[in-house]
């Protein structure tokens, strides 16, 4: 195990690279929208006639629609695309240039299966299969130059470590920082014995050692009540609390490099509810959390990048139960001081039938024009010090599309 520097100052020194000579890197926060989020509702292509034609019940009104109240209309971004009204909390971030969008982004996955698509995307391997183990974020942490990751380098807020972080040198799943202790007064007596029991080279031994490292590190952080910066208040949902814990770890300078948080509920086959209902609730939750996170960390945004992604988008045409079925391309959101924000990136394929992706003999899905790995590669290379992209995304030749500021 790498030794954890005993003081915060030592940590900072290590991160600043005084010891290893590597430049300081961004903390990368990955928000995963599980279930296949509908990019055409998150960022509607409001000028497209096909969008309104294929979605008679679900399309959101154009920004200039005269007979719909302004609050229910799409918020225009660039004359072509807009944000759903429920995403209002992040609209100022877009306008300030901190938030960027990539549209028509996705993976090679053709199965339209949640599990296959999430698996493929989190492992970051070619659809044809590849022998590389672990997830893309795990491989990044192993392959990037610089000092050894610490016990708190990679954290998943939630009950388990997601596939993307699998194979990271040290990845912990925590629900909240306050939880991370060995129970009661027995802890002090038991910890040395637990350490002795977990000296083995098997996965449980390794996991036990990592756990003990994190317990010791967090022990030092505890006792300080967390007050978010700039008067930011996080919504009360589990997902927003998770973002707050991440912000807390970032502020505490404990060596965090990558954090993962999930937000579920995007599998909207049935009564999608874009203005009021399921989808709108999820969007409001997503945006409320991101906005609070950005406000909290205003003074640190130059060293933070947040990526929100999903396994696939949804079919262009709505189904008969006022929902949408699994499709191909969706959107990604990027937040951070170094993000080329205020812009919808990517190549728009269009929604006319001849431009749609094929689904079992008939066209029906938004085509993927940007590979998600291109976006992540650019972030990792330009912001997270990765020099060996081939080790992170095997078999993929990355093409940067300019989501970061040079």
């Amino acid at each position: 195990m790498p030794t954890v520097p005993s003081t915060r100052r030592a940590f900072l020194r290590m991160l600043l690279g005084e010891a290893g000579g590597a430049p300081r890197r961004d903390v990368l926060v990955v928000v995963y929208l599980r279930g296949g989020a509908d990019g055409l509702t998150l960022v509607p292509p409001h000028v497209e006639a096909e969008y309104h034609r294929q979605r008679p019940q679900l399309a959101l009104a154009r920004p200039d629609h005269a007979s719909v109240t302004a609050t229910d209309r799409v918020r225009d971004l660039d004359g072509r695309f807009g944000l759903a009204p429920a995403l209002d909390p992040i609209l100022p971030l877009y306008r300030e240039g901190l938030l960027g969008v990539v549209h028509a982004v996705g993976s090679e996955d053709q199965t339209r299966s949640h599990f296959e698509a999430q698996d493929l995307m989190e492992h970051g391997v070619p659809a044809a299969g590849g022998g590389t183990g672990g997830g893309w974020l795990g491989r990044h942490l192993r392959a990037r130059p610089g000092p050894q990751p610490t016990a708190l380098s990679a954290v998943a807020i939630g009950p388990s470590v997601p596939e993307a972080l699998r194979g990271a040198p040290a990845a912990s799943a925590v629900e909240s920082l306050d939880d991370y202790r060995v129970a009661g007064e027995s802890g002090a007596r038991l910890l040395p014995a637990l350490a002795l029991l977990h000296e083995g080279g098997d996965p449980i031994g390794a996991a036990g050692r990592e756990t003990i490292e994190v317990v010791k590190t967090v022990e030092r952080l505890r006792g300080e009540k967390y007050v978010p910066g700039n008067g930011a208040t996080y919504p009360g949902t589990a997902y927003a609390r998770a973002l707050q814990e991440i912000a807390r770890l970032i502020r505490a300078d404990v060596g965090l490099e990558a954090a993962c948080v999930d937000i579920g509920g995007w599998d909207t086959h049935f009564f999608q509810g874009n203005l009021t209902g399921a989808m709108s609730g999820r969007m409001a939750e997503l945006a409320g959390g991101v906005a609070a996170f950005a406000k909290d960390l205003t003074d640190r945004m130059d060293r933070v990048t947040l990526v929100a992604m999903t396994e696939f988008g949804r079919r262009v045409a709505e189904n008969s139960s006022f929902g949408t079925d699994h499709g191909r391309a969706s959107v990604m959101f990027l937040l951070g001081g170094a993000i080329a924000g205020g812009k919808v990136h990517g190549t728009w394929p269009g929604l006319s039938p001849d431009r749609l992706a094929d689904r079992g003999g008939e066209p029906g899905d938004l085509a993927v024009t940007t590979d998600y790995r291109d976006v992540l590669s650019e972030v990792l290379a330009r912001r997270c010090g990765q020099e060996r992209l081939a080790a992170v995304f095997p078999g993929h030749e990355a093409k940067f599309i300019g989501v970061t500021r040079g």
Binding site: F115, R166, A183, P192, I204, G208, F270, G360
Partner: protein, 496 residues
């Protein structure tokens, strides 16, 4: 047992009113065999005891005295006994688990129940049965099928309809024939809601079927994702199943029904088999589809692989999977026959400690190992939730993952539960460690309890760690609690 049962039932009529609640049933249950034995002999030797291993896989781990009993009849006889659960007396468990009223309600009546109450009763009953039932293999298979046909109670009516699904689909067919199980699941009100089957319809020419259930039927329930079906097959299956729905209101609420007006009556083709436009309004399309998919060779391989993973290893031996798939195909999906092939195999016997317990198994095996007296109430359920495996709360249709990797981040919560349980700090749960030590013939060094919990002599490292904890403890009682907690926190106790 009959006389005893009659006495208990007679006594319960009056006493239950007096006792009012939990206490009486727990007392009666303990009296009828769910308590600690007076004495038992834990396994010994450097290698994991083969009977201890068998009970770790086919049951949720041994309770005090179980290893001796199974050793006396032999593992093959134990397998046969467990494959015929209806012949096993289960009164001590029933006294604790069957008294929850909602477990006996029809789907229609369940709609009167509060969703939190329905979930809590079902979750408690699930833990209680896993801990106390003599029909352990049945409970292990219930857990397996609950994941295989996962339903998240967070979704709409699933909150109350999972209860009849658990009873009429999962438990009823857990050791039956696979095709019957799939059919029951296809028409389960909870499944019709969970995977949107109830909204899968074609009433107008432009209607597109909702393919959610069709996809998971092929991908997760039968053929497996690489089972050789196409996107076209998913759509065709969805078309076949149009018209099946379930009402939430009216006198037919909670009963699956077929509406010919919602059915797509055109001809279909599934996995290369033609399903002609039917004369019976399409009601039988369901049976044709299920026949095609459950008899498919990919289904036999997929189910055999999953069962072998559950009972043998994360990466099960291919030869065993092939034999189990052969049994599956030959018997038309006879679950008992497939289990016999797997459980009596050399590969199964050889795979000692090869798997990581998931949190549910960890918690249940700890409760069983200590002979705990638990009501499986809030604190136990909260511990499961903390470790990421609350019953019936997995959000996506693939069920809680079975392999080790996703669960390695839960060690801290396991350690905390282990210490809390052994120290008597899990609410609603009592352990009597001095009685356990006495029954196991422990000499105060926790060596006998270690042999009982680990199924072998403790290793040098385990003995040293145990010694450290005992030496540091302020008193004997604390030392025993923390020592037993440490045993439950050992890497060895996380494996099975």
């Amino acid at each position: 047992m009959t006389a005893t049962r009659r006495q208990v039932v007679a006594a319960s009529a009056g006493a239950a009113v007096l006792a009012g609640c939990d206490g009486f049933w727990r007392w009666a249950s303990n009296g009828l065999g769910a308590g600690l034995p007076d004495s038992f002999t834990p396994p010994a030797g450097p290698e994991t005891d083969p009977v201890h291993h068998a009970l770790s896989r086919m049951a949720f781990g041994p309770r005090p005295g179980d290893v001796e009993r199974v050793r006396s009849i032999g593992v093959p006889a134990y397998v046969e006994e467990q494959l015929a659960p209806e012949a096993l007396d289960d009164v001590p468990c029933d006294l604790r688990a069957r008294r929850f009223e909602s477990l006996h309600m029809s789907a229609g009546n369940m709609q009167e129940w509060k969703r939190e109450v329905a979930w809590r009763e079902l979750a408690r009953a699930t833990v209680l049965r896993a801990v106390y039932s003599s029909r352990q293999l049945l409970e292990v298979m219930v857990e397996f099928w609950t994941d295989h046909f996962n339903i998240d109670t967070a979704k709409a009516e699933c909150s109350v309809w999972k209860t009849p699904d658990d009873r009429d689909v999962i438990r009823r067919h857990a050791l039956g024939r696979f095709p019957d199980l799939v059919r029951a699941s296809a028409l389960s009100p909870a499944m019709l809601v969970y995977l949107d089957g109830r909204d899968n319809k074609k009433t107008k020419p432009e209607d597109k079927p909702n393919e959610n259930y069709a996809r998971e039927l092929l991908e997760l329930h039968t053929l497996g994702v690489h089972g050789g079906y196409s996107q076209r097959d998913v759509m065709e299956v969805a078309r076949c199943l149009t018209g099946w729905t379930v009402d939430t209101k009216g006198w037919k609420r909670g009963k699956p029904r077929f509406s010919k007006w919602r059915h797509d009556r055109g001809p279909k083709a599934v996995l290369g088999v033609e399903i002609p436009a039917s004369e019976d309004h399409g009601e039988r399309d369901l049976d044709r589809v299920l026949e095609i998919v459950t008899s498919h060779a990919s289904t036999a391989r997929f189910l055999a692989g999953k069962l072998c993973r559950r009972f043998v290893a994360d990466e099960p031996p291919p030869a065993l999977v092939a034999r189990a798939a052969g049994t599956f195909s030959r018997t038309g999906g006879d679950i008992r026959a497939v289990l016999r092939t797997i459980l009596l195999s050399e590969e199964s016997a050889a795979a000692r400690g090869a798997r990581l317990k998931r949190p549910f198994r960890f918690v249940v095996s700890a409760l069983r190992g200590l002979g705990a007296d638990t009501d499986a109430g809030g604190p136990v359920l909260a511990a499961l939730e903390r470790m990421g495996q609350a019953p019936f709360q997995y959000p996506t249709p693939d069920g809680y993952p079975d392999e080790a990797a996703p669960w390695l981040g839960t060690l801290l919560w396991r350690w905390n539960f282990a210490v809390a349980l052994a120290s008597g700090r899990v609410g609603g749960t009592k352990v009597d460690l001095s009685a356990l030590a006495r029954a196991a013939g422990d000499r105060g060094d926790l060596g006998a309890i270690a042999r009982h919990l680990l199924g072998r002599d403790p290793s040098a490292v385990e003995t040293r760690a145990l010694g450290q904890v005992l030496a540091k403890a302020p008193d004997e009682r604390t030392g025993r609690a923390e020592g037993v907690g440490l045993l439950l926190a050992t890497p060895a106790f996380q494996r099975f």
